[in-house]
């Protein structure tokens, strides 16, 4: 794993560093990857396709250098383009492939933003609710949902959140987001929901 060593040093710096916000970036970034966009993908490994939409939106908009506008501070929870992707106003649902608990690439920026937001808001807690689609036995699906919630838990911990801020639970197939016995419904049900708790 060639994890860049300097990133640890960089992170605090770049959080305080100023960012030239692009006026146009908000629109250029496109809509956030909500259930409709990310969730309707098929169960196969097409995560990469939608991943580009979420992850690169920020980069694409950033290439337009705004020489006029004043620099704006990076706020934890926001994307490079200034959109809320983390925190209570961010993207709150992470979708998964069938029978899998690996996190699709498209969610790395979103999780990063959540991690940063939680790091900056130590008093806040978030419940990670793992869910599965209805296929298979309810009890096994409960465990599968738990495994998904745990994957998100691990990612957020590595990206700045404290363990005490996170509470991973599973609802298995008991609380589907969409009713229906087809892949469209199932893909929306294989998910982890981030539920920010109001204290």
């Amino acid at each position: 794993m060639n994890f860049p060593r300097n990133t640890r040093v960089c992170l605090p710096i770049l959080l305080s560093v100023v960012l030239a916000a692009c006026e146009t970036s908000g629109t250029a970034a496109g809509p956030e990857p909500g259930p409709d966009q990310a969730g309707t993908g098929t169960a196969t490994a097409d995560g990469g396709a939608t991943a580009a939409g979420a992850g690169s939106g920020a980069i694409a908009s950033g290439t337009v250098i705004n020489r006029e506008g004043p620099p704006v501070a990076i706020e934890p929870g926001r994307s490079a383009s200034g959109d809320w992707i983390g925190g209570p106003q961010g993207t709150l649902v992470i979708y998964f492939d069938y029978d899998r608990s690996s996190i699709r690439e498209e969610y790395s920026q979103i999780l990063q933003a959540h991690g940063a937001w939680l790091a900056a808001n130590q008093g806040q807690t978030v419940r990670l609710e793992g869910h599965a689609d209805e296929r298979g036995t309810p009890e096994y699906n409960l465990a599968l949902g738990s495994r998904r919630a745990n994957a998100v838990n691990q990612a957020l911990t590595a990206l700045g959140a404290a363990g005490a801020q996170l509470n991973a639970v599973s609802f298995g197939e008991e609380r589907p987001a969409a009713e229906g016995a087809d892949e469209i419904a199932w893909s929306q049900n294989r998910r982890v929901e981030l539920v920010y708790e109001t204290n």
């Binding site: 794993m1 992170l11 770049l14 020489r67 990612a155």
Partner: protein
């Protein structure tokens, strides 16, 4: 990491631009550009970091799945082996049963070793030829010619064996042995006595009789068979180590004989089982 390349280039470019312009206003603007570039490098680094974290977690997940898949394969192979061993065991048991039944009918298959063929009882030869079961059939020791009169008990014992009256047959063999301790059929009687125990699952007693054939009649034509059966009983009694040594001895000392072939097969079974 292709992404790491272009921010570096961008920084270099910005530096070049900065050095090329001397004017103050230009410098300020350059500084803005630099700052912005720095920010963008930071954002990229941040992104790389997040990507790496997710990649690490996924790699861990992938590893878990790999291990699970391997375990699945191992468990399935294990099960196949177990089933095969079981199948072979049951096949051998069935063969042995059939053979015992054939023997009991006074039916003597091919001789254990070629040089003993002369000792075959008249009338058995044709049956033996018919009854030649391919390859993996347990050896059937043939009867040496013996003086009439001394073999009444022996004959009766064989008769009883034919009726599957193992206990009675065993008693008759024993009576023969008591009456003719040095008789021409003593080794055979002792061997068959062992077989009566073996067929009833009394391996301890069977083993003792087979061992006596080996120790008391080292020149007997029953030696190979008795040793083979001794190995079987040791294995049945769970003494795999001794059984292996005994069967190894049969394999080496009686190479070419049926007993040696059977010993080889049994050894393979034992090995498969122990894995």
């Amino acid at each position: 990491m292709k992404r790491t390349d272009w921010p570096v280039m961008a920084v270099a470019l910005a530096l070049a631009v900065a050095l090329a312009s001397p004017a103050d206003a230009q410098r300020r603007r350059d500084r803005d550009v630099l700052e912005e570039l720095e920010t963008r490098v930071g954002v990229l680094e941040q992104q790389i970091r997040a990507d790496n974290v997710v990649a690490l977690i996924n790699a861990q997940d992938e590893l878990r799945r790999e291990i699970q898949a391997l375990r699945d394969a191992v468990e399935r192979l294990d099960e196949d082996l177990r089933r095969n061993a079981e199948l072979r065991r049951s096949q051998f048991a069935a063969l042995e049963e059939r053979l015992a039944a054939m023997e009991a009918r006074g039916f003597t298959p091919a001789p254990a070793s070629p040089q003993d063929a002369t000792g075959q009882a008249p009338g058995d030869a044709a049956d033996a030829a018919d009854g030649a079961v391919p390859g993996d059939q347990p050896p059937e020791p043939e009867e040496p010619a013996i003086a009439a009169g001394s073999q009444e008990n022996y004959e009766q014992a064989r008769e009883l064996l034919g009726q599957a009256q193992y206990q009675a047959a065993g008693a008759e063999f024993l009576r023969y042995l008591e009456a003719n301790p040095g008789g021409g059929l003593a080794a055979n009687a002792r061997y068959w006595l062992g077989e009566t125990f073996y067929v009833q699952g009394q391996y301890q007693e069977a083993g003792a009789e087979f061992a006596r054939v080996v120790s008391d009649y080292p020149d007997s034509n029953k030696l190979a068979d008795a040793l083979l059966k001794l190995g079987y009983t040791q294995d049945e009694l769970g003494d795999t180590e001794t059984a292996t040594a005994t069967l190894e001895r049969v394999r080496q000392d009686f190479a070419g004989a049926d007993a040696a072939n059977l010993a080889t097969i049994r050894l393979a079974q034992i090995e498969a089982r122990s894995r």
